[in-house]
């Protein structure tokens, strides 16, 4: 339900935001940085030039986020300096969102924003009384943000997606690398704030040598999961675009082309995540870190999953699930516990934290070869209750054990030849259409075509991607060898950043 303190806004699902870094306030905020040069300041001044709005014209970008107030002396100068840009932009049909942060006088900043005709402001606090202007909650992810009343939530601690080599100490030709993705964040948001649009705020890393694919991946990593990246360009790209450099303009065209691609293929936004496993949590303390880790780990071990808010779990459907991971320290309320136990009795496997009181069922003696498992297993009805042995188990090994206990025999899907890729599966509510999203965090296509295995093949499949101009029909190769358990495989074209398999039943 919408909070009365937040006015209805034109900013919403259809808004495609871009961080328009320009003006005295952005200069003031950077002045203390060691590598900030007079040339960089000049670029930020240039971006006040309304003629640069041509960059957004004819592109899906329709909303610009500008620095509005940070509690610095430059606040007033910024608001003044932005006037020509705002006027020209509004004439071009663009929305403007003013970013209010730090020690800014929120009441004054909101009043100024209202007076300047901004479409909304974004701020990290609940607006004082009736702001008289739409307010986007903009904060680090957490219960306060998920519970905010605005229809758009701005998450301030987004990740710059990619393969951070420093996080893969055991990486190598025979190991899956770690990837940074906003998928977990967006999965949580989808469960905890299902009627909201999430804007991911993340700036390009400084010192990094960026390629256009970095931007394409950041767009795709948000859009595929149903969110929006608030496009943020690095200083060099801003300088090059201001100078109308042809390579920079070509790169920008690819970024906006990627946005257009997702606009054309956004039917999947209404689809539901599919997987044989559901993670149930409210992602609040003290369980947040563990559960968020789990959402990051599961894609790396190729386990498709759904996320269900604990608050909504009683009303959620458990159809199609083989396992449920309920690792919150607090036991579920009686009705939910009853529902979870019914799920187990019907044949499912429930993974519960060590705090699960009075576990139901009879203990299963695991073989000595499985003594390492982080769970004690119990038979219950047709299913199993797996209770964690440790209060704070390792999140990676927890995921591995969950997968092992569920068994690969029931894998609904697998991805081969995608070491640096994550994938996830969505289906339309009626189950007639489905899509498998594949994101490549290395931003390089690799030498081998990705292969998707599906236990239950669909009638038709086609591939759409950033590197294909038209959908590519795909053929299911059935597994028919005598030693194979069945199912079928799809060989996909090479994927540098993003591709999707669209299927019909």
């Amino acid at each position: 339900m919408q909070d009365e303190r937040f006015n209805p806004m034109t900013i919403g699902t259809q808004s495609i935001p871009m961080r328009w870094t320009a003006g005295p306030l952005d200069i003031a905020k950077r002045q203390k940085e060691k590598d900030f040069t007079p040339e960089a300041a000049e670029v930020l001044r240039k971006w006040l030039d309304p003629s640069l709005l041509a960059l957004a014209q004819g592109t899906p970008v329709n909303c610009l986020a500008v620095s509005w107030a940070s509690g610095l002396p430059a606040d007033a100068e910024q608001q003044q300096a932005l006037k020509p840009l705002l006027e020209k932009g509004r004439q071009a049909g663009l929305d403007f969102v003013g970013l209010i942060e730090g020690s800014a006088d929120k009441t004054a900043a909101i009043a100024a924003a209202r007076s300047a005709g901004l479409s909304a402001v974004a701020m990290d606090a609940v607006p004082p009384g009736d702001a008289g202007i739409p307010v986007i909650a903009w904060a680090k992810s957490g219960p306060a943000l998920w519970g905010a009343g605005s229809p758009v939530l701005g998450v301030a601690d987004g990740l710059w997606p990619g393969v951070p080599l420093e996080k893969t100490p055991t990486g190598g030709p025979t190991n899956l690398p770690w990837v940074d993705s906003n998928g977990a964040l967006l999965g949580m948001a989808e469960a905890l704030a299902p009627d909201k649009t999430l804007w991911v705020f993340v700036d390009p890393p400084k010192q990094a040598k960026l390629t256009p694919e970095n931007y394409l991946l950041t767009v795709a990593d948000a859009e595929a999961y149903g969110g929006r990246w608030v496009i943020s360009l690095d200083a060099q790209m801003r300088a090059d675009l201001a100078a109308k450099s042809a390579p920079a303009l070509a790169s920008w065209k690819r970024v906006t082309g990627t946005l257009a691609f997702f606009e054309q293929n956004k039917a999947a936004w209404s689809y539901e995540r599919m997987g044989r496993l559901a993670v149930i949590s409210n992602f609040s303390e003290p369980d947040r870190e563990f559960n968020e880790d789990v959402l990051n780990m599961l894609p790396r071990i190729r386990e498709p999953f759904r996320v269900i808010s604990r608050t909504r779990a009683l009303a959620a459907s458990f159809d199609g699930l083989q396992g449920i991971l309920y690792m919150d320290q607090a036991p579920p309320e009686p009705a939910l516990r009853q529902k979870l136990i019914a799920f187990v009795n019907a044949g499912g496997t429930l993974f519960a934290s060590s705090k699960w009181p009075n576990p139901e069922g009879a203990p299963i003696q695991v073989s000595s070869a499985e003594a390492y498992l982080l769970f004690n297993l119990r038979n219950l009805g047709k299913g199993r209750l797996a209770v964690a042995r440790e209060d704070k188990p390792d999140s990676y090994f927890t995921c591995v054990d969950v997968q092992s206990i569920l068994s690969h025999r029931g894998d609904p899907a697998r991805l081969y030849n995608g070491a640096s890729m994550n994938y996830f599966f969505q289906a339309a509510p009626q189950g007639r259409q489905a899509v498998i999203h594949v994101l490549n965090y290395s931003r390089r296509p690799g030498g081998d075509n990705p292969i998707i295995y599906l236990k239950s093949p669909w009638r038709t499949a086609r591939f759409v991607g950033l590197e294909t101009t038209a959908p590519v029909p795909l053929q299911f190769a059935r597994q028919t060898a005598p030693y194979e358990v069945g199912g079928a495989e799809l060989s996909l074209p090479l994927i540098s950043v993003y591709g999707a398999v669209q299927m019909e039943a």
Binding site: Y372, A419, I451
Partner: protein, 410 residues
């Protein structure tokens, strides 16, 4: 009698003299890779001639079992070896299981084929093996081998039912054992004096290395000798191994401990003899592989070259590699002789030393296996039967060159 040399003595013996490591950059790559002219181990006299047979089999169809059966007869018969015995058969599931070579499946390229495993189990059962344990330490996991097979869409139950008493064990860790078993290197070793392993390698009366016919990025080849390298538990020799005691579960690969000597194995296991021993994998791995082979020699080696991959042991992405169908199987009574024949089938010289393909970046592990008394690599000193090598030859170098030519064209 084995002459035990310390690392320093060995260096002095090579003529590189003291300060080898310091001089290495100035000497340059080729000089640093110069083969040792004198024996590193010195147990060659212990090595007995082996019997090796070559069979041709175009696929994993109905010809496979009769072909293997005939080959084992040529080796003296399986029954003589396994009747009433507990057999451990080490198969090969190398690398990340999600990375194939193009569309080709793992079993058609880098991994032991399930039908080959099933056929072997069937023949071992038929020959009267009391218990057959299929063993392997798949990459960085404590999952059961059934699960690993299921992740590739195989039916593990077909293998389990191919003979009366069959079980799987993941030997990356303690598994079903209560303690690790220790295997000492004859003569004391050069890199490690001994190696700790899962109980399965001690509990068996007969040990079989069931490998794949492949090249290897670091060691030139990976055949029945290199397959046995994978018997070492990751909990002791892996990147995530415990410092004092073995870790509870495996994590990572053996790169840090074995390839590059960046860290020691868990202190509970025998430690590196000379902490300053070379950190170069081309020096370390062939010795370590030979030492592991000598510490528990295989009683039978079987190399599946029906379908495999050229270029490397797993998909590196950047190497010229191809899925191929040599249609050949090599089996023998020891790993050195069997690998020597397999190398010859691949178009390589088993007597080649460092600098000559396939040992461009590495010493020849067969040489050290011979020096440790495991077997002889000179084809003329072994009994080679079955299909003549020339008829079975499948030139791996030619495939690589063809790929490179085609890559250049495109």
């Amino acid at each position: 009698m084995k002459k035990k040399l310390t690392r320093r003595e060995w260096l002095a013996g090579t003529g590189a003299a003291a300060g080898y490591m310091l001089m290495r950059p100035a000497l340059g790559f080729a000089a640093a890779l110069a083969p040792s002219p004198i024996p590193v181990y010195g147990l060659t006299a212990k090595a007995k001639p082996g019997r090796v047979t070559v069979g041709k089999c175009k696929d994993y169809g109905s010809d496979l079992v009769p072909t293997l059966d005939k080959m084992f007869d040529q080796l003296g018969g399986l029954e003589k070896l396994v009747k009433g015995k507990t057999v451990a058969m080490k198969v090969n599931f190398i690398g990340v299981r999600w990375q194939r070579l193009g569309n080709a499946t793992m079993e058609d390229t880098f991994w032991s084929h399930p039908i080959m495993i099933g056929a072997m189990v069937h023949l071992l059962g038929k020959a009267g093996a009391r218990k057959i344990r299929v063993v392997e330490g798949p990459w960085s996991t404590a999952e059961t081998l059934e699960e690993v097979m299921l992740s590739q869409g195989w039916k593990p139950e077909d293998i389990l039912s191919a003979a009366p008493d069959v079980e799987f064990e993941n030997t990356n860790f303690l598994g079903r054992g209560k303690k690790y078993s220790r295997f000492m290197v004859p003569g004391g070793g050069v890199v490690f004096p001994g190696y700790d392993r899962n109980h399965s390698y001690e509990d068996c009366d007969v040990f079989i290395s069931c490998a794949k016919l492949k090249e290897h990025a670091a060691t030139g080849i990976t055949l029945s000798m290199k397959n046995i390298y994978g018997t070492t538990p990751i909990t002791i020799y892996g990147q995530g191994a415990g410092i004092d005691e073995p870790a509870l579960r495996p994590q990572g690969g053996r790169g840090d401990v074995f390839h590059f000597g960046r860290r020691a194995p868990s202190k509970s296991a025998p430690q590196q003899i000379d902490p300053n021993f070379s950190k170069e994998q081309g020096v370390r791995l062939p010795r370590i592989i030979a030492e592991i082979n000598s510490s528990r020699p295989a009683d039978l080696a079987v190399i599946d070259g029906i379908r495999t991959a050229t270029g490397a042991e797993t998909n590196y992405g950047s190497r010229p590699q191809a899925a191929v169908n040599p249609g050949v199987i090599i089996a023998g009574t020891n790993t050195v002789a069997t690998d020597a024949v397999a190398m010859s089938v691949m178009g390589f010289d088993p007597m080649a030393d460092r600098g000559k393909p396939p040992f461009t970046d590495s010493d020849n592990m067969l040489r050290f296996g011979e020096e440790l008394g495991v077997g002889l690599r000179d084809l003329n000193r072994n009994e080679v039967t079955g299909v003549p090598i020339a008829e079975a030859r499948f030139d791996f170098t030619a495939i690589r060159e063809k790929i490179l030519r085609e890559t250049k064209k495109t």
